[in-house]
């Protein structure tokens, strides 16, 4: 279990890794990786009961990444969790690498091949239903993009999740409000999203999806209501953590230039230094050093 400070430092480290492997592969979904990485960080480090040692355990918690295009975030966290050596990340999208540009089960730690949008929720629903049928206590987490909510299959799956009272299913929407063509509300408007999910039978909670402490607090409350599937509307910032990538549609799948990469790394270094300094200051206030 990581502390809030440790989680925040992890997120910075993960962001740096994501940008490094995207830069090297010359491919990747930069903006969505950065908006969703805090969610993945909290899930894998502090919430889900699963590890490389327990990945075959029928009682493990499960994660299905419906927004498969943000695979660099998932690979980064899985490497950190020890599912495979860090250096394998360097093969992302290379000829004959099994680190494809969308998740596949050929990479240790991945439950389901995804990439076509609107698929993860039904599959996660099936996993959660199996737990109910077998009397198992595991939970299933699935991460959806907001743009993919236009796929009707999500709403079919939602009907079933509610009907089968899947309170062991946690649907997280990475609500960064941008998709490849622009703002979700001008491309295919989703609002009022909270009300729509509630009408489909979810217990809905909104959270700052880039705040690890807030995410921890929300995930600790699962199930939100007995007998209802859980919906976490995670309000995030696309490109979060790098000033010129934030809320910019052009960073959906743009690869940084050398100069942009250097600037981004410098910003992340500064964020790390600031965080460490704040922590040290707070630590000194709490535990004064006596000469």
């Amino acid at each position: 279990m990581l502390t809030d400070l440790e989680l925040q430092l992890k997120s910075i480290e993960y962001r740096a890794t994501i940008l490094r492997i995207i830069k090297q592969a010359r491919a990747g979904h930069t903006g969505g990786d950065l908006s969703s990485i805090d969610i993945l960080n909290v899930l894998y480090n502090n919430v889900m009961q699963v590890s490389p040692a327990t990945f075959a355990d029928p009682n493990r918690d499960r994660y299905v990444q419906s927004k498969g295009h943000c695979v660099e975030a998932l690979y980064t966290v899985l490497a950190d969790q020890g599912y495979f050596p860090q250096e394998e990340l360097d093969t992302l999208c290379q000829y004959q690498s099994h680190f494809v540009g969308h998740p596949t089960r050929s990479v240790p730690g991945i439950e389901q091949n995804t990439g076509a949008l609107g698929h993860g929720l039904a599959v996660a629903g099936g996993m959660a239903l199996a737990a109910k049928l077998d009397g198992r206590s595991y939970r299933v987490f699935t991460l959806l993009g907001d743009g993919e909510l236009a796929e009707g299959s999500n709403w079919e799956a939602s009907l079933a999740a509610s009907h089968y009272r899947l309170d062991n299913l946690v649907v997280i929407v990475d609500r960064n409000r941008l998709q490849i063509s622009g703002n979700t509300e001008t491309v295919a408007p989703l609002e009022p999203l909270h009300e729509k999910f509630a009408a489909f039978g979810y217990a809905v909670r909104e959270v700052d999806g880039n705040d690890p402490a807030a995410l921890m607090d929300i995930f600790n409350r699962v199930p939100f209501e007995a007998g209802k599937p859980n919906l976490v509307l995670a309000n995030t910032v696309k490109g979060k953590g790098v000033s010129f990538m934030e809320n910019s549609v052009k960073w959906h799948h743009r690869v940084p230039t050398d100069e942009e990469y250097a600037t981004a790394m410098r910003e992340l270094d500064e964020a790390r230094a600031k965080l460490t300094a704040q922590a040290s200051e707070a630590g000194q206030r709490r535990y004064p050093v006596h000469a």
Partner: protein, 315 residues
């Protein structure tokens, strides 16, 4: 040979037998319990039936998740909807992800007859053959249906089974054997081979019986496994008989016939060959039997095709 039951009913009975002995067996349906003859199954084992309503994409997606967690899923829904509406889920959630879902396309082909093209599945072999990691089976009679369902009970990989809803003539005897991927020799013969599948096998057999009266000796193969195809049985037919006619309740594009043609061409075989199936047009209105007759999938129609290939006159 005598008339049996609908293959659909045999599926329902067989999956009930399996499910009674194995709690992990599940049937997943899309408001299709009635059409799938699964009402009795649902009443006997309500906890082993998952109803998802009229939502074929969701049927396949949920089935993939259930299979991932160790459930032995038979996802049963009309073939026309399941393999079209649910195609991307079959491709990605099941086949690509290698989740062992048993996809059961019910009332396949033109089983729904006069209900029209929306309810016909004449595309399923073609689209599913082009998807990696999916076994495709179209059983001919009650025996092949029962053996198929038993054989896939513990399959580690995805399977598509295509079933019709009309009572089927038994084409197998008591001593028959069944192996997925191996053509069943229903009748041996040296002049011409009918390579048929599903509900066209009894029709081909009836044609062979008619031709026998004229001294034409036909081999009839039930090519129940469309993929992986028993290529050796096809090439053997080319070596040992003088002509081949393929017969299927499917479009002439992309199905059993073109699969056999590919094997024959690439195997260097050259002999009179005809693909009998549904042409590239919207069907006239009619029952399954009327449509079969209209498009030459009848004893008379197939016998005429055989005579034409062998260049002999009718007697």
């Amino acid at each position: 040979m005598e008339l049996g039951r609908a293959n659909l009913e045999v599926f329902a009975d067989t999956v009930l037998e399996l499910a009674c002995a194995d709690r992990d067996v599940l049937v997943v349906t899309s408001d299709s319990r009635g059409s799938g003859k699964l009402t009795g199954y649902g009443e006997t084992l309500p906890d082993q039936l998952v109803e998802l309503g009229i939502a074929e994409q969701n049927v396949i997606g949920f089935s993939a998740g259930l299979a991932s967690a160790g459930k032995k899923v038979f996802a049963a829904s009309p073939a026309c909807f399941l393999t079209a509406r649910g195609l991307e889920q079959i491709k990605n959630d099941v086949a690509y992800s290698d989740q062992p879902v048993r996809i059961i396309g019910i009332s396949a082909g033109v089983s729904y007859g006069a209900l029209g093209a929306t309810h016909h599945s004449l595309h399923d072999f073609a689209v599913l053959r082009a998807i990696n990691n999916l076994t495709i089976i179209a059983p001919a009679d009650n025996f092949e249906t029962r053996e198929t369902i038993r054989a896939i009970h513990n399959t580690p990989h995805p399977v598509y089974v295509r079933l019709g809803k009309a009572p089927q003539r038994h084409v197998h005897g008591a001593d028959s054997s069944f192996t997925i991927g191996k053509a069943a020799v229903i009748q041996d013969g040296g002049d011409l081979t009918f390579i048929a599948c599903g509900e066209t096998v009894p029709v081909a057999l009836a044609a062979a019986e008619q031709l026998a009266l004229e001294g034409i000796d036909c081999r009839v193969l039930s090519m129940h496994t469309i993929k992986p195809l028993d290529e050796e049985a096809v090439l053997q037919a080319a070596r040992e008989t003088r002509a081949i006619i393929t017969v299927e309740e499917h479009s002439v594009f992309g199905g059993l016939g073109e699969a056999c043609a590919s094997v024959l061409m690439q195997g260097g075989a050259s002999l009179p060959f005809k693909i009998v199936g549904f042409p590239d047009e919207y069907m006239v209105t009619g029952s399954q039997k009327e449509l079969f007759n209209h498009y030459g999938i009848s004893p008379d129609g197939l016998a005429a095709s055989a005579r034409q290939l062998l260049a002999v006159e009718a007697r």
